[in-house]
Symmetry: C2
Subunit: 214 residues, 2 copies
DNA sequence: GTCTATAGGATGATAGAC
DNA sequence: GTCTATCATCCTATAGAC
């Protein structure tokens, strides 16, 4: 865990121009903001201005660094996928725990909930197929995850499929922010307990709250 | 979003206005068009103009009938959900087939693939939580489906959960239009066979093709 | 590396005729 | 019931200074 946290990003007092950063540092900061904003509003719904505000830079500067909104989304999507794969691979690495690979990858997936908008940005990308550039990239990303499960993690097709399915349900429920309603309706509680038999407290804690993407 | 609109005006001879319909008939026609367009482009990405063209009416008339784009989306979402529930209930009704309820509902879910954009419109709605009006409606719709599984279909929580999960995976894959790539890459074929063990030919046949939403 | 100002294009909604 | 014309708003991207 060495990447800058969202809190650090938001820690600069309003009105105080952030210190000059290297291009790479800014890129990283803006990508995290973009993942949060795209996750909350979707590709079309997000504005480069909102991303800029979340990253505390000016809107034209975001465009300057990434060229176009389309490129910004592609970069955010790639970054989200890369973080996911990295975390999956770390979970696979031989460790002392007795848990099976599926369990460890599952936990890694849940821990990614702490990166605001990550799962939702990916979910949005899966719905952008009619876009000539983003569509193919999203398809490639999805099949890459499948390949990882089959080849690197060594899961059989049945296990891989149900793993993927549970992941989709999980991110849908998180995207819906039903977490926010936990404790308010018996049916929602039941749904949650069915989905997260033991990890529920952890999940509730990990998911960032608040309507604003940052 | 980019893709230029196909000249579906060619479907009706230029200058020939469609026949006058009753308000209800038009509403129905526009809702089907809206489900297709919202499914393909999302709430923000869809334009009232594209919906209008798909329904072969003028853009202001769509607004006239539904008030606002927001209302149009809500109506499309409700219509999609209503069609789904109707088809689920029909599947539950006592029939001569020997198949268990889950199998019959699953088939009903798959058959809904023939309504262009239906599953994708619902998937989009699940990502609109930050919207003050659509968000709550989407959450209500999702929990309604859960209640149906539990109470009307009588599924236990475990069965209901995995049913929901498989449904999410299915609609994600359809949304991604990986169907279009079937036969082009071994990994995609494998994924498909894992997801639709026997219904695959039926699925490939049901899903509407083409980039345009209508 | 970063900003301000702004051009230029799209789109939701309204007015009003037939 | 349905259309044409049009306004007002918002947003991406460019220009150019510091």
């Amino acid at each position: 865990m060495s990447s800058p946290s969202v809190d650090e990003v938001a820690a600069t007092p309003a009105g105080t121009p952030g210190r000059r950063l290297s291009s790479d540092e800014r890129r990283e900061q803006i990508l995290l903001a973009a993942i949060a904003v795209f996750g909350a509003r979707g590709y079309v719904g997000a504005t480069t201005d909102e991303v800029a505000r979340a990253a505390e830079v000016s809107q034209p500067y975001v465009v300057r660094l990434f060229g176009t909104k389309e490129n910004l989304f592609l970069a955010a999507m790639d970054d989200a996928l890369a973080r996911m794969m990295k975390s999956f691979r770390a979970a696979l690495a031989p460790d002392t725990s007795e848990q099976p690979a599926t369990k460890r990858i599952g936990n890694a997936y849940i821990e990614l909930l702490s990166i605001r908008g990550l799962h939702q940005t990916l979910a949005h990308s899966y719905l952008l197929v009619s876009h000539p550039v983003i569509g193919p990239a999203a398809r490639a990303g999805f099949t890459m995850v499948w390949s990882f499960f089959r080849e690197e993690a060594g899961l059989d097709t049945e296990t891989a499929r149900s793993f993927l399915a549970e992941g989709m349900l999980l991110s849908t429920m998180i995207g819906l922010r039903l977490v926010d309603d936990y404790g308010t309706e018996p049916e929602i509680d039941e749904l949650f307990h069915a989905c997260f038999p033991t990890e529920l407290p952890q999940v509730l804690e990990l998911v960032p709250r608040g309507d604003e993407p940052w």
